[in-house]
Symmetry: C2
Subunit: 405 residues, 2 copies
């Protein structure tokens, strides 16, 4: 029997408990050993009679119990979770988590501790919830240089954008619907401003580039300014609007990493990823494009990935595995504006100035919208900003959105 | 340095050579050791000067060279490839392959030999080409009971069906186009009759169920009978037609495994998988639906997956890993007709008999087609066959196609 402890009995922690209970015989076969949950640590009162004998409030009980070999950190954030994870790894216990903020911020340091203590720090669930993405990148795509990654990594904003497209809702109405359905937090800033997606693209970028990319290195735009008029223009151009996390390898030693809304051609597979689903496209120099699709969040999908890590940790109980996934951080993230891409522009009144400033553009038929709209040719983000400043001298510019190449 | 040999220098073998050459420094990092290709075995004359010093014709040189630790089997089929694989594993060498026919037919036996000799038999590339699917199923979805799998597993037939839909081509014309473009073999039977897809769903079913499923246990229908009229009807019903390999767990000890064309609702992600791309949906009891998408064949994508296995074998050069993926075969595959599903029917003349025989059906507006068409309610395949036999007494039945639930 290998004993497991769960820190935090919220959505993820209780999901882990339920998946381990429901699929226990199957899991024992896969782990090649029985797994038993010995402790559940939570500071809240928990009304869940069948676990009452496991609930504890004192972290040190877990830290000091040599029987506990694997700990699921389902606390979240970078406060207590960071401290406990360091202490558990230092105590020689394997730690499994879905905590993207912690991995994106301190993943390198935590893997170093794990490596020095010959234990594992595993976080398959930190990106894409239950969607297999971390291991496929480490193992199945290991023969490839990863050229770029783009993906819908936040289900809340994808739900909001889907409802704006499908039902013509405003951003505010779509968001309040999402909140009512439990798909968005009461404070939705982390999602709608793109910070949640930023943490996930950090983790994938660190994996792809082999060095730690921190959230503060990631330029981040959210979807607050997307209007129904932008949606109608996108529809006219047979495009969709998606909030994408992106990684682009610009040279052997420079990368771009950013989060921003993008117009995406409807015939691309990523455009069909709707509602709370996530889809992540990875482009390798040998494999071409592969996409991973599924529920990027939610209790059971996330628990599925956490428990898979627990099983893997159990199978490697006396070994380390993938604890040196990336090296230290550094000054290798380029300004996202170096990329040459096209932009969607919607403005009050499009005079001849547009062609004078932007050259040939693709006009969008926009009968029922406020203003006029077009898509530029490819140019750097620096050039685009200069040209938009010129256009603003002639007319009001309502919105500008990047177009996915 | 770990030495590798390649058996067969055709499309896959030469791709493996090129990926290993192009990404060699990167691969050395991932493998934690340099990998060198020592021999390339081929019976053909090969005009490729830079490898002339590696080319050999005598298999025993590889078999008897203790320096060769990993062998890529890129011969294909179940003749020589089967014999060589057994001998190599017995000689204590790791074997990596994309040979789906061999894995589907003899995978259990070959894994037993690998296990007894403490080496690895790896075949990530055997399903979905470069798309990560085998490892994600083994590892990332290990906490789940796999309820069902469905997927587009053959790029040739998907290309043909895509062209029938997009360009209104007949099956014959679409197939000859595919042959001209090199997407279909001159003898396309393996693809269009579904045998290639059958081998792949065998491998995924063996993984999901944990026991060996053989090709002869798989009911197999191809796309030879799909007509432009069927395509037009599907369009009318906002559906697409896809050749799917399917696995359905009907109880703890019974499964259905089959290959057949299906009508698929256009809003399902699998419906957007077009051209030569593959898409495989796996449904786990915790994770829900996840989809893996990418190029399911082709030189470089397949080589990408083979080389990833070579890297993994190198990292586990003195260990075994996943060599007991499934147990022996047996009598657990149910007749595919036990499933309760809907069917599309196109017939000469739809009299009142349709309602008398099938009850409520969904009629399809079919102005420009030969005959009339409808979709039945759900019923077992046995019931459906009886009812169709009754309908045939009243009118000519042109086609019947299963509808994906």
């Amino acid at each position: 029997m290998i004993y497991v402890a769960i820190l935090g009995f919220g959505v993820v922690g209780s999901g882990v408990y339920e998946v381990m209970k429901e699929n226990s015989s199957h899991i024992a076969v896969k782990s090649m050993e029985d797994l038993g949950i010995k402790y559940i640590l939570d500071i809240m009162d928990i009304d869940y009679p069948e676990i009452s004998d496991k609930i504890i409030r004192d972290f040190e009980v877990i830290e000091n119990d040599p029987e506990v070999r694997i700990v699921v950190e389902a606390i979240g954030g970078v406060g207590v979770a960071y401290e406990y994870t360091k202490r558990l790894l230092s105590a020689g216990k394997h730690v499994v988590t879905s905590n993207k903020e912690l991995v994106a911020t301190h993943g390198y340091e935590l893997m170093r501790i794990a490596s020095s203590k010959k234990v594992n720090y595993m976080f398959e669930a930190s990106v894409g919830g239950g969607i297999p993405i971390i291991r496929p990148m480490i193992q199945c795509l290991s023969a490839n240089e990863i050229e770029d990654i783009y993906g819908i990594m936040n289900g809340t904003t994808n739900y909001v954008l889907t409802k704006m497209f499908e039902d013509g809702l405003s951003f505010e109405k779509a968001l309040s619907d999402a909140q009512m359905l439990g798909f968005a937090e009461s404070d939705p800033a982390d999602d709608v401003e793109g910070y949640d997606a930023a943490r996930k693209i950090c983790i994938l970028s660190s994996l792809a580039f082999g060095r730690h990319v921190s959230p503060e290195q990631v330029h981040c735009e959210g979807i607050l300014n997307i209007s129904p008029d932008d949606v109608r223009c996108a529809e006219q151009a047979e495009m969709s609007i998606k909030l994408l996390g992106r990684y682009v390898r610009v040279s052997d030693d420079k990368i771009c990493v950013f989060v921003a809304p993008h117009l995406v051609q409807k015939n691309k597979p990523i455009a069909t990823v709707s509602d709370v689903f996530n889809g992540i496209v990875v482009h390798g120099n040998a494999v071409g494009e592969v996409m991973f699709y599924g529920q990027g969040a939610g209790k059971m999908p996330t628990a599925s990935a956490v428990v898979a890590d627990v099983i893997d940790a159990a199978r490697h109980i006396d070994k380390t595995k993938n604890v040196d996934l990336w090296g230290d951080g550094g000054d290798f993230v380029e300004d996202y504006r170096v990329l040459n891409e096209s932009y969607f522009v919607r403005a009050e009144n499009l005079s001849d100035a547009v062609t004078d400033i932007f050259g040939d553009v693709q006009m969008i038929n926009s009968e029922n919208i406020d203003g006029c709209a077009f898509i530029t040719g490819k140019m750097s983000g620096f050039d685009f900003e200069k040209k938009i400043a010129e256009l603003r001298k002639e007319t009001d510019v309502f919105s500008t959105i990047r177009v996915l190449p």
